[in-house]
Structure formats: C-alpha cells, structure tokens
C-alpha cells in the first residue's frame, strides 16, 4: 500500500498569504461610491483595526504569554 508523501507545513507561509490578501483586498481596488450599503472608507478604517489585532495576536505568541485568567 502506498501513501502520499507528507510535505512540510509552514505556519508562517499561511499567515503571510492571508496578510497579503487582506492588505490588497481591504485597502486597494476601485472604490465606487453610490448606492452601497457600507461606505468604503469604513472598510479602510476597520482594516487598521485588523492590523492591530493581527499584531496583538502575534505579540502574544512571540512572548508566549499565558492566557489571561479571571481574577478570583
């Protein structure tokens, strides 16, 4: 019985791809104003928040900070 070869998994690569995608999809591309349900400016603004969020998640991982536990 033959098995497929297992390729190397690189978590860094996945994250790069997602941040590349977010970088483009959320902050570039044609902005059309008109009968939209949400203003595009809002998306850009929120994107700043997402960056902060990604940054925070990374920082936590890097420092290996233990999860916050509720005070007793």
């Amino acid at each position: 019985m033959s098995h497929p070869e297992l390729d190397e998994y690189d978590p860094e690569e996945e994250k790069m791809l997602l941040s590349d995608v977010l970088d483009r999809v959320l902050s570039t591309g044609v902005t059309i104003t008109g009968d939209l349900t949400i203003g595009i400016a809002d998306v850009s603004l929120i994107y700043c928040g997402i960056r902060v969020l990604l940054t925070t998640v990374d920082k936590l991982k890097e420092q290996n900070t233990p999860p916050l536990t509720p005070e007793e």
Binding site: E12, D23, G29, I32, L53
Partner: protein, 252 residues
Amino acid sequence: MSELLYIYGIIRLSPALELPLIKEGELAAIFEKVPAVEFAEEALAANIKNMDWIGQKAVHHQRVLEDAALHTTLVPLKFGSIFKTEETVKSMLKEKQGAFLKLLDQLNGREEWGLKLNYDSKKLVQWVDEHSDDIAPFHQEMSQSSAGTAFLLRKKKEEAIKKVVKQELNDCRKRVYNGITAAQAELKKNPELDGKLLGAGLANILNLAILATKDQREQIAAFVEGISAEMRQKGMQLELTGPWPPYNFVEL
C-alpha cells in the same frame, strides 16, 4: 429584502465567459448574491471586525477575482462593494463606462506582482560581525588584548557593526529597487509593513506593487533569483508574490 449584490470586479463583456454577470453596454460586473443578514450595512460593520469572518471573505474575494483573471482582464473592486439592485449596478456601469474601458485597455496584458524585502536583524548583525572588512580588525585586536581592553573594544565593535548594518540595509534596498526599476514596469511603492505582521524577528524595508507584462515579469523574476542567495546569507529575504489582480493600479 433578503439578498444583496456583491460586486467583485468589472470586465469587458465577452461571450466566452461563464460567470454570473450583470451586463451593461460593453461592460459587465462579476457579482454574487449575498445574504443581507451578513452584508447589510450594520451586519457588515459588525462582521468585518471578526477576524475569522473577514479572513474567510477576503480570501473568497481574492479567489473569485483570481479565477476570473485567468480568462480576462479585470478591474478589481475593493472588498465590500455592495449594491441593492441590478438597476443600481447597471447605472453605475453606464455612468463610469468611459473610465472603466480606459482602465481595462491600460491593464490588458499586465499582471500585478508584489515584492517585499524583509530582513532578520539578528542574522544580519551576525553576518556583518563575521564577514565585514570594517569589523575584521576588531577581532584581530581583541584576540591580542587584555580582558579590560577587549571589553572596551567589544563596545566599539558593536557601534561599528550598527553603522555597517545601516549601510548594508540601504545598499541592498537600493540594489533591489534599481534591479526592479530596470525592468521598466509600472511601480507603486507602498508603506513598509509592520514587522509584527511578518512573523518573529523580521522587518520589512521595501514593499512594492508592480504592474508587469510577461517579459517584464520574467526579467524581474530572474533578477530576484539571481540576488536571493546573497541576500539570504545576509539574513534578508526577497519575496515575489503574484500574479494578483491589479488591485494597486486601478484608480478611476
């Protein structure tokens, strides 16, 4: 109303394409019906703050455009371009027909590529320490000094390394930039990315979007391949990604 129209991109109308399209004159909009519960103004404003949701939808947005771009030239719209009715999409296409057609002509035969130059500060410092001609004399002198003198020399060496590191960074950055501009493709210099987005220890010192023809792309890829090994030794990483839909080159 339970469904809204999500518009991904605008193309020149062609009979060969089997995509859901809203057509108007010479143009067509690539669209998808999306549920209002998810995409209506308030829902979208809330969903967009959810990392899982936005990640998933942004990747879907990219996939739809990526697939369409295999068959035709397109103008990508920004995430969340949502219309309420087909009529509003059509009148938008009608109103902007001239600008879209002009853009589509400019983009024809070109693809967007991304180029990032990142570096690992620790590795670069180590490389400079071991290989720089400006640092070698310190090692020699330190090996022949008393402990006290060696300590002072080490401090001086650290200062010297900082200087060389700065020179190396600027030198490599300039070489990469010159190598890319030599291909004569259209370039956009985007702000450098926050290092924390790149992963542990990396900093971004050049972030370019490139709009290239096939020939220009080959020239750029060859340049990147040629310089990568040397860069890697210095703790630098050149990353060429793409092809992307031309997100960075579509101002109306």
